[in-house]
């Protein structure tokens, strides 16, 4: 029983390939997820109870079941129906890559929608009233006040959600995708060095997470700069 660093070095480029796929999955799912989440959040925050109830079932289902079930439902489940197999959707739904992106996007959209709803409801009431007093229409108010404001409020929580999605993306390896985890498993099947490879993959996840956290900090300082604003000491 020995620890072999040489195996890690030998397969590092392949692990890096896997890491790129992981980043790609997180990026595209995050993007689609947020596009879906904003209208859902606006519906959830509306005063109309019909509008509020519609996204509830969707959010409840995706937050209450494991991501693995959701991936399998889309990847394996869709094949059960001949209607889907004969339709134009099938070329997309038979690819594990697209199934992973669909599952991750729907999953993160459900979580993000709740986060954004919380942010919208956290906007001080006075700001809404002021925009109404200024005669803004509802659409203008959403575009100019509610969305920019809630974006600043939700950002710290949303960056956390993106980190959770980075970890969730490891599940892509269960539907044969060669992301960072999938690549590590493939290499292990050949070299039988599980500890070394999983260690290397884990370290790569840590580095990716570290870089992401660093970027979020910088962005947070930029987006919410009013919170970090300090008076010039010479002007006091």
């Amino acid at each position: 029983m020995s620890w072999e660093w040489s195996v890690i070095w030998e397969y590092l480029p392949r692990l890096w390939q896997g890491a790129l796929l992981t980043l790609e999955l997180v990026f595209f799912s995050g993007l689609i997820g947020i596009i879906l989440a904003v209208p859902l959040a606006l519906m959830r925050a509306s005063h109309n109870w019909v509008l509020r109830a519609l996204p509830f079932a969707y959010i409840f289902f995706f937050r209450g079941t494991p991501l693995l079930v959701q991936i399998f439902l889309i990847y394996y489940g869709a094949a059960q129906f001949d209607v889907i197999k004969d339709s134009a959707l099938w070329p997309v739904l038979k690819e594990p890559y697209w199934c992973a992106i669909i599952a991750f996007s729907l999953n993160t959209a459900a979580y993000s929608a709740e986060l954004i709803r919380g942010a919208i409801q956290a906007i001080p009431k006075g700001e809404i009233e002021v925009s109404q007093a200024l005669g803004m229409s509802k659409a203008t108010m959403i575009r100019r006040i509610i969305l920019p404001r809630s974006f600043g409020i939700v950002f710290p929580a949303y960056s956390n959600e993106l980190l959770l999605m980075l970890k969730g993306s490891a599940l892509a390896s269960t539907i044969t995708l060669l992301d960072l985890t999938g690549m590590a498993r493939t290499i292990i099947a050949r070299t039988y060095t599980p500890l070394e490879m999983f260690f290397a993959a884990g370290m790569m996840y840590l580095i990716i997470a570290g870089v992401m956290i660093g970027c979020f900090r910088l962005l947070e300082r930029r987006i919410n700069r009013y919170q970090y604003y300090k008076l010039d000491p010479s002007q006091r």
Partner: protein, 230 residues
């Protein structure tokens, strides 16, 4: 939804999922308490170890943890056993690896919940306990711990929901829990959608039960709210 006589399989899988989640919860709570105490201790080494533990575990995927402990667990344990002069082959089963991985992951997040809760307890309580002649350990078990539960229940409830959903990952290493039994049913009947949907609904039921229990515990932990209308 036609389960073609595989329903009992799903139910036995659900029972295994519950066992897995509760075992991991209990061990994870102990790890969390130890972690939080270490993070708030005066020793720089203990603080460093606890911070390293939470940072690393919260940064790597749970699936990777499950795979590492299942496929590398025997190696790891045999390494430690060899150190004590024991050279037999030791195998780590999927249940043990699953509980280990899930409780380590749960413990890292629970550490933060307990740490925040401990910080919420006024320092004066430690001081008055010391003034009464209690030692640090005695103060922890008699004064701090009973209050810690009430402050941590909301946070721990959320973490348990995450844990419950993460149990599905252990199916990847072949434990016969809900997800795996659904896969068996799907393979035998060629009706994957029905079986995974049934599994999803069972998970939904489990998370719903967990939410209700958390709400009951929260209410029970706040006697001042009892009798009032929420």
């Amino acid at each position: 939804m036609e389960l073609q006589g595989f329903g009992h399989l799903l139910l036995s899988g659900t029972w295994m999922t519950v066992q897995l989640a509760v075992s991991s919860l209990l061990i994870g709570l102990v790890i969390g308490l130890i972690g939080a105490s270490a993070k708030l201790s005066d020793s720089r080494i203990l603080r460093g170890i606890a911070t390293g533990y939470t940072t690393i575990i919260r940064g790597i995927p749970e699936l990777l943890l499950v795979l590492t402990l299942y496929f590398g667990g025997s190696q790891l344990i045999m390494l430690v056993a060899a150190w004590f002069g024991h050279d037999d082959y030791i195998e780590v089963g999927p249940f043990a690896a699953g509980v280990a991985a899930l409780s380590i992951a749960f413990g890292a997040y629970a550490t933060e919940v307990f740490r925040m809760a401990m910080l919420e307890i006024p320092k004066g309580q430690w001081e008055s306990a010391a003034a009464m002649g209690m030692g640090k350990i005695q103060t922890f078990f008699r004064i701090i711990l009973p209050q810690l539960w009430r402050l941590s229940i909301p946070g721990l409830g959320n973490l348990f929901q995450v844990l419950l959903k993460d149990t599905a990952l252990v199916s990847v290493v072949g434990l016969n829990e809900l997800m795996r039994q659904a896969a068996v049913g799907a393979a035998n009947t060629k009706q994957p959608f029905d079986f995974y949907m049934a599994a999803a609904l069972l998970y939904l039921g489990l998370t719903l039960i967990a939410t209700v229990i958390t709400m009951m515990l929260e209410r029970w932990s706040k006697p001042e709210l009892r009798g009032s209308r929420a």
